[in-house]
């Protein structure tokens, strides 16, 4: 088998893994968009916030330590205990639910009935707010996150592929774990929205707010639940990306990466988010591999957006989105 083809296969595999992670972030967007029509720009910052909170809780950091020290002249930094990863994840989830409640209570409730673009801007404001709060709470330095996920090259794949192609594929264990977790999460979310009472209520709200209200579904509850689920997805995404490249500001930028994924797949479709994520993941890795060296590299920065842009010109509602019907 020619060498280039083998390399390309490795690139595709890695692209698929990256794509799953994009899909994971995109899922958070789709959930909130479907249930409340809000395009939640803050999803990426929520992932950052979740990851920072997780690290902070695990290390026993005192929240707002810098601020407290600056105001009262004290020197508190750590409680002096460490919390095991699983307990910390559960505590962080509690924080995310609290956040969901606060967002619903203090922001979204006052903006019901506004135009979608106003809601979108509000979530941009929320993103800034959360980012500032996260930095104030836990400090802005880069942190390492280790919840015990396996990392490093997968030797079995390396060996097997070496036996077949005379070339060992480099695939990170973490990516494999992430893919499995993401797949499980997607399955769980689909099952949740299809087969549970709350999931049905959520879909009902997505379909028609007023009709849902009239059959006795509490909009407040559903919205808090949706934001909590999105917070959970953000937490998972935060753990994956945080373990991979450290917990730092750039983590919030994955939200921007998820946008073209959404546009490709269509804002309203869960399968769309997954397929879109895979297309973008593979596409940008392949493009960087094939064309990148010719034009100076780092094409990953823009490829996804340009692909989505070109795609949208031909199919404005995305792959699986609902057809846009315009009437006067």
């Amino acid at each position: 088998m020619p060498e280039q083809l083998v390399f390309a296969m490795e690139v595709i595999l890695n692209g698929l893994m990256a794509g799953v992670l994009y899909a994971l972030v995109a899922l958070g967007f789709v959930l909130i968009y479907k249930a409340s029509g809000i395009f939640n720009y803050a999803q990426g910052v929520m992932a950052l916030f979740a990851a920072m909170t997780l690290v902070g809780i695990m290390n026993g950091q005192v929240p707002f330590a810098h601020l407290i020290n600056a105001i009262f002249g004290t020197h508190v930094h750590y409680f002096g205990w460490n919390i095991p990863a699983l307990a910390a994840i559960i505590l962080t989830m509690g924080v995310m639910v609290l956040l969901a409640w606060a967002v619903q209570r203090f922001v979204m409730r006052h903006l019901v009935g506004q135009e979608p673009i106003i809601l979108f801007m509000a979530t941009i404001g929320l993103a800034y707010f959360l980012e500032g709060v996260a930095d104030l709470m836990w400090g802005s330095e880069i942190k390492t996150l280790d919840v015990g996920l396996p990392q490093g090259i997968n030797l079995w794949i390396d060996e097997t592929t070496f036996n077949i192609f005379d070339y060992g594929f480099f695939i990170d264990n973490l990516d494999i774990v992430a893919t499995i977790i993401a797949a499980l999460l997607v399955a769980a979310l689909v099952a949740f929205s299809q087969y549970t009472k709350q999931g049905r209520a959520m879909r009902a709200v997505a379909d028609d707010h007023q009709a849902a209200l009239s059959v006795g579904i509490s909009l407040n509850f559903i919205w808090i639940m949706v934001w909590s689920v999105a917070g959970f997805v953000a937490l998972v995404a935060g753990i994956m990306w945080g373990t991979k490249s450290g917990v730092q500001f750039s983590l919030s930028l994955i939200a921007l990466k998820a946008l073209p994924v959404l546009m490709l797949g269509g804002f309203t479709s869960i399968p769309g988010a997954i397929v879109g994520g895979l297309i973008i993941g593979v596409g940008e890795k392949l493009f960087e591999f094939a064309i990148g060296p010719l034009v100076g590299g780092a094409t990953e920065n823009w490829f996804a957006y340009v692909l989505a842009l070109i795609f949208l010109v031909f199919r404005p509602q995305g792959l699986f989105g609902e057809k846009i019907i315009e009437r006067v």
């Binding site: 903006l111 930095d135 802005s140 946008l259 546009m263 957006y305 989505a308 010109v313």
Partner: protein, 358 residues
């Protein structure tokens, strides 16, 4: 008492259609111009110019540009940073290629080049609408920044990848480079801002502006009553990009002097200008000024209060600033979705009836 139409008789059509029909408004406008042109240049110093006035003037131009696109034509754009970069790099290439030509011409040409690029990236707006368009403009943002980062021709093959503004003058007065006097840079930006504001104001109250607003309010209905959406949207993109390009050129050449594209014109810049437009007020030229002034002043005030008065570390103040800006945006959207301009409008209405509101 003093803010009245009563007694202010118009005797010609020219009088009737002037920009500020109320006498008080008109005089206020003249006073502002007189102070800006006649007094500030004589009392300005480097600190005031660099910390407040230059960024305010330049961001105001960008905000007017974005407001035309978002506020008047309803096409949400997140690519402002990218278009500012086009203006900056076009200006840089022109400055280095034609050193003898006046800076005025360079900046205007840079705006023109940005307008062409803007129209190019505006073409998809005919098919893509709303959110989808907002995200599609991100393509412009990331692609343009990448382009200026990776193609050495744009930064004249300099080793650092930065662009540095060489010393250039207008009528013998140095405008760019470290030796430019504060008043000269101030005046240079002020002239462009005045020009842009007057053009924008008159465009938006004429046929072009009405077409834009018709497209914004409902594009299908606008098409049916005879507005050509292709022309309307593309002119909005062109005019908006021209202003944004001018502001990018000034931002690089006059204000910063040296620019690293990812840092100066990244996605954060796009959001900053968008926030100015939202806080100031969508669809209002005054709002663009108010929003720019607000967001330029806020960090300076916070820094003075937090660092100099309270003695807090700078990083905490920087984080607090994020919290405050984010909180303010949410607050504004909840309390007054039409921004500072709406507050001003309400105040004017009150003033008109004062002191007999009924």
């Amino acid at each position: 008492m003093f803010y009245r139409e009563a007694g202010d008789f118009k005797t010609s059509y020219v009088d009737d259609s002037q920009t500020f029909p109320i006498k008080f408004d008109r005089y206020r406008y003249y006073v502002v111009l007189a102070v800006a042109f006649g007094i500030i240049p004589f009392i300005i110093n480097d600190y005031w110019a660099n910390a407040l006035l230059l960024p305010f003037l330049i961001y105001a131009i960008a905000a007017i540009g974005l407001n035309i696109l978002v506020g008047y034509c309803g096409q949400v754009s997140l690519g402002t940073g990218g278009f500012m970069a086009v203006g900056a790099y076009a200006c840089y290439k022109l400055m280095t290629a034609f050193p003898d030509v006046s800076m005025f011409i360079h900046v205007i040409l840079a705006g023109g080049i940005t307008a062409i690029v803007g129209v190019l990236f505006g073409l998809p707006s005919l098919r893509i609408k709303g959110f989808y368009l907002a995200v599609a403009t991100l393509a412009a943002q990331f692609f343009l920044v990448w382009l200026f980062n990776r193609v050495p021709w744009f930064y004249n093959y300099s080793a650092s990848g930065q662009i540095n503004a060489p010393e250039r003058d207008v009528f013998g007065i140095i405008i760019t480079g470290p030796n430019a006097p504060a008043w000269a840079t101030y005046m240079f930006c002020l002239i462009f801002l005045t020009f842009c504001a007057v053009v924008a104001r008159n465009l938006t109250r004429g046929t072009t502006g009405r077409k834009w607003m018709a497209i914004r309010d409902m594009d299908i209905a606008a098409e049916i009553i005879g507005v050509n959406p292709l022309k309307a949207k593309l002119t909005a993109f062109a005019v908006s990009s021209f202003f944004v390009g001018v502001s990018g050129a000034l931002f690089f050449a006059v204000y910063l002097g040296a620019v690293e594209v990812g840092e100066a014109f990244g996605i954060q810049k796009s959001f900053l200008v968008l926030f100015m437009v939202i806080i100031g007020g969508l669809g209002s030229i005054f709002g663009s000024f108010a929003g720019a002034a607000f967001l330029v002043l806020l960090p300076v005030v916070l820094k003075v209060v937090g660092v100099d008065v309270l003695g807090w570390p700078t990083d905490i103040v920087a984080h607090l600033q994020l919290v405050i800006v984010g909180g303010l945006i949410i607050l504004f959207l909840i309390l007054e979705p039409h921004g500072l301009a709406q507050l001003w409008r309400v105040a004017k209405e009150k003033l008109r009836l004062w002191p007999f509101p009924h």
